[in-house]
Amino acid sequence: MKLELKDLYKSFGEHQVLNGISLTAESGAAVGLLGRNGAGKTTTIRILMNVFPADSGEILLDGRPIDHKAVKIGYLPEERGLYPKKVIADQLLYFAELKGMRRADARASIDYWLERLGMSKYRNKRLDALSKGNQQKIQLVTALAHDPDILILDEPFSGLDPVNAELLKDVVRDQMKKGKIILFSSHQMNYIEEFCSEIAILNGGHIVLSGNLREIRRRMAGNELLVRSAMQKEILEFYGDRASLTEDAAIRITLNDAGDRRREMQLLTAKWDINEVRIFEPSLNDIFVQNTRDQI
């Protein structure tokens, strides 16, 4: 399956929120939706989920306009919240039925997910009796129980301890293997780098950067080399001002010209005992900051 958002525009009164958002997501791959607060991520997600229509633009699934009755979407909103005073199994059943599941199927699916996330023992407890992380896992069940075709995860890892984060990672990987389309929004760049081959960075309702993450990083690599060597001192001395030590004890060398990269790498390996030398590629964090520092 292929999901395409084409040229979405949306304004609320005088305030133009989306200015032509286009992005593509395919089965089995996660797309990272990045942007600072107020960039238009939630609005994009809400239009995708048919909470309100876009002013213009279209959403296609496999080339045809999306039929919200036929396609199932699972959503883990950034603002978590269920009914705090209600029994967990009851509300999970309610949400699954709202999404069109039959009662028996819903029950079976909820049991499966509660078991999988290690929450079965809380089945008949009230939600507010659970810790924040566990509440979040319950919320995750509402997104997954109806076996959605498209899964939208907004900050899925916030509030989870490392063990639960691993559990969630497994779930996400499983969903990718099953060929689900996954939209992943987060400010925790390491998770995006881990899961998303494609990214789209929003700023002021525009997509300022999108595409394959690896290609983007390669493209944005400049005239810098990253070197690891036991002969750190000598190398630093040799390059003087043009070299600096990074936080993880590698040497970053700035060249006069990006074209010199290959020649300089050969020179380095010939001259010193080098463990690793590569073209310095910016981290996703650097790319994000660079593209969103000035809010449009």
Partner: protein, 411 residues
Amino acid sequence: MKQFKTIFRFELGNYFKNKVFVGTTIVLMILLAVIMFFPRISGLIKSGSEEKSQKELLLASEDPALTQTAQAAFEKAFPDYQITVTDADEADIRSKVDDGTADCGFLLQDAQNYTYFVKNLSMYDANIEIADRILGGIAEMKAMTENGLSPEQAGSILATDVSHTVETTGKDQSQNFFYTYIMIFALYMVILLYGQMVSTSVATEKSSRAMELLVTSADPVKMMFGKVLAACLAGLVQLLCIFGTAFLLFNITRNDWADNQIVTSIFDIPLHLLLYMLVFFILGFLIYAFLYGAVGSTVSKLEDINTAIMPITFLFIIAFIVVMTALGSGDVDTPPMMVCSFIPFTSPMAMFTRIAMSTVPSWQIGISIAILAVSVFGTGVLAARIYRVGVLLYGTAPKPGEVLRMIWRGQ
């Protein structure tokens, strides 16, 4: 439709699983049972103990002849009182009444003047009127005998009996007053209580952010209608439980209430009035519940809800006061009531009162119900639109004008 059913069932379950809701209903039913069985229970207690509950009335006069005539007349006119003739003076009577030895006292200066002593003058104290009549009678008797009539002649003149019959072509207000009063009060309580429950329920979903998930899972219009209709059914069931219990118990204890006109008149409510009650209850409930629901969707925090629903509550209270005033005055066809019985927000109470207490042409009833039904539909549509916009708005609650503008733009 399936989604609506799911929402409706869930919302209804919220009421019936709510311990406070179930508890209040049961407590009210028990309370009614106690009230309905009260005459029987108190009868049992009374028959066991000595009957000594008669109130005491002191009668004093300086004229022994007057005292004698007055005593006979007082005994006849105050069957509830034990009449004690005393020669105590004013201060004595005052202190006896004040410390509760006697319940009241009459000090007759002469046949035309007397002082009435009572500790707390009740609103319904008719003793003065009775005493006035007795003394007036004594004076007339005296005048007649002085002018040559024999006491027998004078007595027969004064005792002339006038008999009458009343033919009511319309409604007998003294019969209908109490059940109309109770019905209006029930309508008022239920609409106010459930209306607030609806708006609190919407606001809770918003403040707990369950709304984020709800709006992406279900159609807001279905959510709104599911919520309001479930509340309406829950309210009806609760009323049915309470009034049903009362009616059932009344039929069991009917004999104990035979001499209580108020209670028997309440349960003699004609069927057609009950049906009107049902129609006005459902329509009135819906129109207010829609408004309450819509307003609930515009606030983000639960603590803002009271301020937000105040205008609707005021509107409803004003309607209630107009109706209650008219009901109390006995004239329910006053111009304000006529107007109110056609305005959809006041007509459920006003028109019902007029139907119960007066004779209303059927075309007026028809028009009133038609206007109300159309308004319920219109309010429902408007409320659903406000809801659709409101549920996504967080932060400061928007002004009504803003909300309308947003709906107009179709966002």
